[in-house]
Symmetry: C2
């Protein structure tokens, strides 16, 4: 039994932060003191942990020397403000905000990177779609020889937080009741619609999340030159990101070998041909990435197609971060 640790969760009232606290409890993470922190607007709220309601305090007032491991699950701006303080206090930092330029790790794909980190350790949990792709492609990378990955990510609104979840419900109810629609979080109707742009795009037309997925996936797979084409689409789904993936391969695709590698891999659950996994029916609340519709090309022997879906808040963020912490306390602290 490892010694218990003092833990801080920043952004504890958000969708990811609250799930993170729940996952820490479920997995019986050895915690001495649990400090739940948020911005001044959310401070004072409480989050359930081990049968008690833990009060959320203001991060600005927190003395980081009280924590051994700090999870950053708030916005990039919050990470930017407080990660230096955490590092100065010697804390191990696990960033879920996408802000820190530190190694990204998905335990099932590139856990070996953790052993190379120097104290105070700073490590990042990548975006949900990068977690999914890393889990699915890492066990295939040797046998296939990845030439190019084409992916469309259909993102759940929960990626944008609680307000976005409420807005999808509100927009849907307004439409069903033929009331006028007033978009707030989104810039237009998202209910019964698809928005092919999530967040800002750069001068080349690529979205921030699209760029982020490309760089994170290359890093996670250890393939810095891998060609990747990504489009992120906002779908009218509350929870669960889904990906259609088409891979151009160096070697002809052997589906028996592919399925066998997927079945033997950690963090993946493959659904048999004929059936298929969906975000609502399979992924939500689960600790694995569901994979289905595994098939070759119509007539291209060097093509692999598949569909993957995962709980973006849980497996795609909170759980991956807790898995990182579990490895760090075993090997490093």
């Amino acid at each position: 039994m490892p010694q218990p640790f003092d833990i801080a969760v920043i952004g504890a009232t958000g969708t990811v932060g609250e799930t993170l606290v729940q996952v820490l409890e479920e997995r019986d993470f050895p915690i001495k003191a649990l400090h739940l922190l948020a911005s001044i607007e959310s401070a004072g709220a409480s989050v359930p942990y081990r049968g008690k309601n833990v009060r959320v305090r203001e991060v600005e007032q927190f003395d980081f020397s009280q924590a051994r491991i700090v999870f950053f699950a708030a916005s990039p701006a919050v990470t930017r403000s407080f990660a230096p303080r955490a590092a100065a206090a010697g804390c191990t930092v696990i960033d879920l905000s996408g802000d820190l330029a530190v190694p990204h790790v998905v335990p099932e794909a590139n856990a070996q990177v953790l052993a190379t980190l120097k104290a105070p350790v700073q490590v990042a949990s990548p975006s949900s779609s990068a977690v999914a792709l890393a889990l699915v492609l890492a066990p295939l990378r040797e046998q296939l020889g990845l030439v190019k990955v084409n992916v469309t990510v259909a993102m759940a609104v929960s990626a944008l937080g609680r307000e976005a979840v409420s807005e999808l419900a509100r927009q849907t109810a307004e439409l069903l009741n033929a009331r006028p629609l007033e978009p707030r979080v989104f810039d237009r109707q998202v209910a019964f619609n698809l928005l092919p742009q999530v967040g800002k795009v750069d001068a080349q037309g690529h979205g921030v999340l699209e760029r982020r997925l490309v760089s994170e996936l290359r890093e996670l797979l250890g393939l810095p030159l891998l060609k990747i084409s990504v489009t992120c689409v906002q779908a009218p789904v509350f929870f669960g990101d889904s990906l259609t993936v088409s891979v151009q391969t160096e070697n002809p695709v052997d589906l028996v070998a592919v399925n066998s590698a997927l079945d033997g891999a950690e963090g993946i659950e493959r659904v048999e041909e004929g059936d298929y996994p969906t975000p609502v029916g399979d992924a939500v609340g689960q600790d694995v990435v569901y994979v289905g519709r595994v098939r070759g090309g119509v007539d291209d022997p060097c093509e692999l197609n598949l569909w993957a879906t995962l709980d973006n808040v849980r497996k795609g963020a909170a759980l991956n971060a807790v898995q990182l912490a579990e490895l760090l306390i075993k090997d490093l602290l």
Copy 2:
């Protein structure tokens, strides 16, 4: 002014059939008699045309020698039963059901095929996603040199008919009211979800619609060896199919030239960078395919990415079929 024609529409009570009648009226198609036909279950209903309600009669009882042009907008089984009768009566047949093994034509892409057809003419209007891809890729095929097309199609429920439209509305209302969900047309929850399989799949795992898109697009572009990877996903959208498209090209992509070719092409409306088109906000009820998010690869010079959305019932089916009829009465009849 061309002489007016006797027209029959089979499947007149369906989503596509009813829109077809509306488009014939809007475009002032020269009609002498309009015969609206359907299976025995739908016969007796009526469909509005030029301010009157036209009674729908039973197709089984129809004398095809009364019609010069017949649109098949019902199921493949209905086409299979009655297209031979129509051909025997010398009718020009325009098939929207996907059943007939006859040339597929999208006027803006391969109208030249019409001149090669012999009487009695039989021609097919392809699937909605093939119409979209043909319109977008035909004007680019020379300048880019298409090597491979990767596409994810997010299909509207209206592709499966009125019952599917009702079911999405009903499932959504049930979920918002926390009532138990009873899927009927779909095999599971489609509201707030994504189903990565539409219809049956074959032994290789490819869906019927995916296979159909591959063969139709190759035919429409006149590129029988073009590599195409397709995944069709059922989205909780009432009307409007959307496609994320990533093209591998032979020549480096010149975005100025691409945008200029798209802007000059018939049947397409390109949305400027920064903005983006959506099925609900742009495509529904319109006569063009909306294209947006036109961009190169992150670092692959031979990659073009874009998003396209169109009214699957109108531009993707009914309007394309009427456009075919307009060309046929000009050149052939």
